[in-house]
Amino acid sequence: VSAIQGTGSRLFPRGNRSRAGAGLSATEALVLLIPALLPIVILSVAPLIRGIYLGFTNARAGLDVPTNFIGLDNFRVLLKDDLFINSFKIGLIWAVSVTAIQFVLSLGLAILLSQQLRGRWLARSLALVPWAMPAVVVGIMWKLFFQPQAGVLNEILRRGHLPGENLDWLSSFQWALPAVIFVGVWAGMPQTTVALLAGLQSIQDDLHEAAAVDGATAWQRFRTITLPQLRPVIIAITSLDFIWNFNSFGLVYVLTEGGPAGKTQLPMLFAYNQAFKYGEFGYASALGNAMVVVIAGALVFYLWGRLREASS
């Protein structure tokens, strides 16, 4: 049908006005855009610019407190702030580990889900569940899992006579961060799996069949067909995951509140405390700026690596 209509539309020469959609005049476009544009500019773009600027001031919470431009002072303090360095280190460990583990697990799951397996509907539905859950509830759920006495993890360890049965995982200096990373992986499975599954389904079957006829093993086909074809999806979703994870807040807030002794204090938790516990708006904004720099730096590094890999 569309082919017929396609030729039809070429048979009738029309002016710009009559080309629906494509021919939206600038005024019409503007009128349609304004309801969304106004709030975006007033409540998103302008605050963002102000937020970046606040990082160069000594703004504090409280009414009638004068705010002065202090240049790079916040950043000088920042570089000497052990808590900041610690939280960004933890933030990077968290974001890189969660993103990497999530990617491997999601890729495995997506490959399984693209096979004709009985029961895959169950795995598919379960894989989507974390998407619908409030981060707070995910946190509560895993608190119940890690709970030292009534929790199920320690009970499993007890029954299996494995070490660690009396451990309070989320309060342990050694184990709090790995435990939180584990939860982060669980919580982020849906988006990654869905994206990779869609990517897998867009790969033509005939490529695989041809390779199978040529005697390529499953692993060879995975490496030479699946992975290269998936590359754009992989790069996009891992980049997004990294950004989302580095900026994550609610999950860890509920699980540990950044404890014990800052061992799980992600950058956003640190910044939140600076802004809304201590009222240091300027310093918190400087932290925000530093987060943007770290994210942008990590992405450039990552994309550059992938590009070199693709061209070699």
Partner: protein, 280 residues
Amino acid sequence: VIVSSHPTRARTGQYLVLLAYILFLGFPLLWMLSVSFKGPRELVELYPSFIPADPTLENYRIALTENELVRSAVNSLKVATITALLTTAIGLPAAYVLARRRGLISRLGLGWILLSQMFPLILIIVPLFLLLRDLKLTDSHAGLILVYMVWALPFILWMLQSYVRGIPRDLEEAATVDGATRFQILVGIIAPLLAPGVVVTTLFAFITAWNEFFFALVILQTPELTTLPLKLAQFVGIEGIVRLGPLAASALLATAPSLILFTIIQRWLTRGLLSGAVKG
């Protein structure tokens, strides 16, 4: 798609791995469900069992009658509904332009959608907090809704414009040839075809607002105004360790609405999110 040289052995392996995934994904959920049916005595026992020895609905009764969970649910319902309707209403016309008009505006718009993902919320919440304070809107649902609206817009715009792209342009062009006005085209042709996408998008906006925690934590102070995630987080802080049963029941009750809605929309949701992205 991927066939091994040892078909049966590979199949068994695949089923084992699938089972491991199902356990990993589903087990914590079942455990929370199990805890929510356990009485206080069973919860302090040293050797917890998976199936409650003496299942009780007491935790659900406590969740619904104490701690004002219901009032928080009403607050969440109000905030999420208004956010969802408002965001879709202002997003729809803009999404139409983004999908149909190629040029600077659309490129800027889509660029902003992607860029907005990169900035940590702290950079936007501090100035927003100052702005809302000047407008006397902190600690109010109106202020929270404004923040949610702008925060949800990038996602909503992205989804809606991909649904608009899914409608063949030829349809509109044919209607123009027949002499229909732009308004007639939008209402008579686009709107009905877009309706499922709009419903899915609105419900998704509802779910994200229903689940949101960070902004609510910053903006709301008055206990009467708290939304569900905020209430649950307070619950963890104050007495969560002591009263695991009611905590689990409350958490499950709070998740039920978004889980049900999500189950309804998930098939269309993934299509809308990825159609543009994967086809490239």
